[in-house]
């Protein structure tokens, strides 16, 4: 799309991929952008593969179809890699971000020879460290923002704190953990990007 980016999220029902897409729409809106965040449901049950989408643009967004040529793909659950064609239509100039603890070689086997950039974030580890539970969507949201550069890190962090304060008004104890999860995921992606730069300049 002209003057904007399109993101596709892959997850399983109950993991928060849809919530992450809606949160991304929310924070991008606060930077003055036109946004769209929407889910695509298959059968209504926990664990079924679901897809969610974001359009973020400086222009008014009118299209109401799913996204077939995304700039970025986020895979919240790596067990989808064997069964869902996550790189379908993904632009070479874009990137895929995968929640995994596996090695790059193991992951790339499942990416059908995708030629763009691949980012791996162990969102489960980050979530367990910061929240004590596996809620991979917060770290994956931060990773999506870091990779797509849809907004500056400081602005994102500030807006997410406000969002969490609203969302978790009744359980404020989880806010700090979530904020830490966002920062750790951002660090991880920025680290990968720096390493990429070093490889290129070497």
């Amino acid at each position: 799309m002209k003057n904007g980016i399109e993101i596709r999220w892959h997850g399983r029902g109950g993991q928060g991929a849809k919530t992450a897409a809606l949160l991304l729409a929310d924070v991008a809106f606060k930077t003055g952008r036109n946004v769209q965040g929407f889910p695509e449901y298959g059968p209504e049950r926990m664990g079924a593969p679901i897809t969610a989408y974001n359009r973020i643009s400086s222009d008014k967004i009118r299209v109401h179809s799913n996204i077939y040529h995304p700039d970025y793909v986020v895979v919240v659950d790596e067990t989808l890699l064997g069964s869902v064609d996550v790189t379908a239509g993904l632009k070479k100039t874009g990137a895929i971000i995968i929640n995994t603890a596996k090695s790059r070689e193991e992951i790339e086997e499942h990416l059908g020879g995708y030629e763009g950039r691949v980012f791996m974030v162990d969102a489960r580890k980050i979530s367990v460290e910061t929240l004590g539970k596996n809620f991979p969507n917060s770290p994956m949201l931060a990773a999506a923002v870091a990779v797509s550069k849809v907004m500056p890190r400081e602005k994102f962090i500030k807006e997410m704190r406000a969002s969490y304060q609203h969302k978790f008004a009744k359980k404020p104890e989880v806010i700090d953990g979530n904020m830490k999860a966002l920062e750790m995921a951002f660090d991880k992606v920025e680290g990968t990007m720096e390493a990429e730069q070093l490889t290129i300049s070497a």
Binding site: A25, V35, Q36, E44, K60, R62, H64
Partner: protein, 393 residues
């Protein structure tokens, strides 16, 4: 001052309901409309509005209770989708024939079977002959704006009919998008206080609602109801003009997008109209003269106005998000064609059935349809007059 926000279509309708603060809302949950009664009951629980919420055991009861409340003199509404609307069917006819100006937020979803939760217009189209006014929305903004205009249309003494405010299930109901909201006060002033002339709970002026009518009178009652529906066209336009004054947003019976010099026009309703407009822009960049006629008001059906808007084009693609199982085309296909014929507008038409049970409709699909119309007119290609878009064969 306008409020820049982002919210889903269901949130937008719920927000309009909060601003209007109607008297009574009976409701029974069904996907994808469930969020509306859920959000409204939250507003009630928080003390933001004093609407009486009645949890009922079925949609038949939801519509019955809405009718009862409205007949009693209370401004009433409910929300539903799909099978919920089907279960209301008997009551829908009573609401209209008893001339009760209640409002229904319909979040369009397919009807079984196969059982499926996603969008098409089967539910609304199934209720097309029940005497209700039906207004469709392209996005969350229009769902919100249409809802605010619903009571002023319904309660106008020239109309006195129920209004269905429709939006596409999931595609707009669950999509978070930008929206411009009005402040509470202008909305309250616009909708005003409900002052029914005649109502059940009025001991000074007793009336009967829904009595038996003998054959000698029933036909006139039905014609009166039909006249009210015809009258509503003018009222819908008047209300839209007044709404433009408080919102700056313009509404008509339909929207014409780049149709003035168009050779080919796509007539479409609901969220897919936005997708079709994008296709129009892409094709205009390549020098193709194409446009979109987005139908907003399906009931009353603006047959003559549509015919006049289409009369200078070479071919029209009539898009139905519904199969009506008559062997002859979808509801829009049949009604638009009849309207063109009666108004002696003899242009080519192709009736496309698309997007059933949530099948995606893309910019590429719209471009293919325009290109097929072009092939038909320019190269004389034989094109099936009634066909399905992107059907697995």
């Amino acid at each position: 001052m306008a409020i820049k926000e982002r919210m889903s279509g269901n949130e937008a309708v719920s927000f309009a309901i909060r601003q209007i603060n109607p008297d009574v809302m009976p409701a029974f949950p069904i996907t994808p409309s469930t969020e509306i009664p859920q959000m409204v009951s939250t507003y009630i629980a928080n003390g933001e509005i004093d609407t009486e919420f009645i949890p009922v055991e079925s949609e038949h009861s939801a519509m019955s209770a809405t009718i009862g409340a409205e007949a009693a003199g209370a401004r009433s509404l409910t929300a539903t989708s799909s099978a919920g609307l089907a279960l209301m069917w008997e009551e829908l006819l009573l609401a209209a024939s008893n001339r009760l100006p209640l409002v229904l937020a319909l979040v369009n979803r397919t009807l079984s079977g196969p059982i499926n939760i996603n969008c098409d217009h089967s539910d609304g189209m199934g209720a097309r002959d029940t005497g209700w006014i039906q207004i469709y929305a392209e996005n969350n903004q229009e769902a919100y704006d249409n809802f605010i205009q619903a009571y002023p249309i319904a309660e106008d003494t020239r109309v006195h009919l129920p209004v269905m405010i429709c939006q596409d299930g999931f595609i707009t109901s669950h999509a978070v998008e930008n929206i411009t909201l009005l402040e509470d006060e202008p909305v309250k002033n616009f909708v005003g206080e409900y002052q029914p002339e005649e109502f059940l709970l009025n001991p000074g002026k007793p009336i009967a609602v829904g009595p038996y009518s003998v054959s000698n009178y029933a036909m006139e009652a039905k014609k009166n109801q039909e006249i009210a529906l015809e009258n509503s066209k003018e009222v819908i336009l008047e209300v839209a003009k007044k709404f433009q004054k408080i919102s700056g947003r313009e509404y008509g019976l339909f929207e014409e997008y780049k149709t003035q010099d168009a050779d080919y026009i796509m007539l479409i309703m609901g969220s897919a109209a936005g997708t079709a407009k994008q296709a129009v822009d892409d094709l205009r960049d390549k020098g193709k003269k194409v446009g979109v006629l987005k139908l907003r008001v399906f009931r009353p059906f603006p047959a003559e106005e549509i015919a006049m808007a289409l009369k200078n084009c070479k071919a029209v693609a009539i898009m139905d998000r519904c199969e009506s199982y008559n062997g002859n085309g979808g509801p829009l296909g049949s009604e638009v064609s009849a309207g063109l014929f009666r108004n002696k507008v003899m242009i080519e038409t192709v009736n496309y059935i698309y997007g059933l049970a949530g099948r995606d409709f893309t910019v590429g699909d719209a471009c293919d349809i325009f290109s097929e119309l072009d092939d038909m007119i320019v190269n004389g290609k034989e094109v099936e007059q009634y066909q399905y878009v992107r059907l697995r064969k």
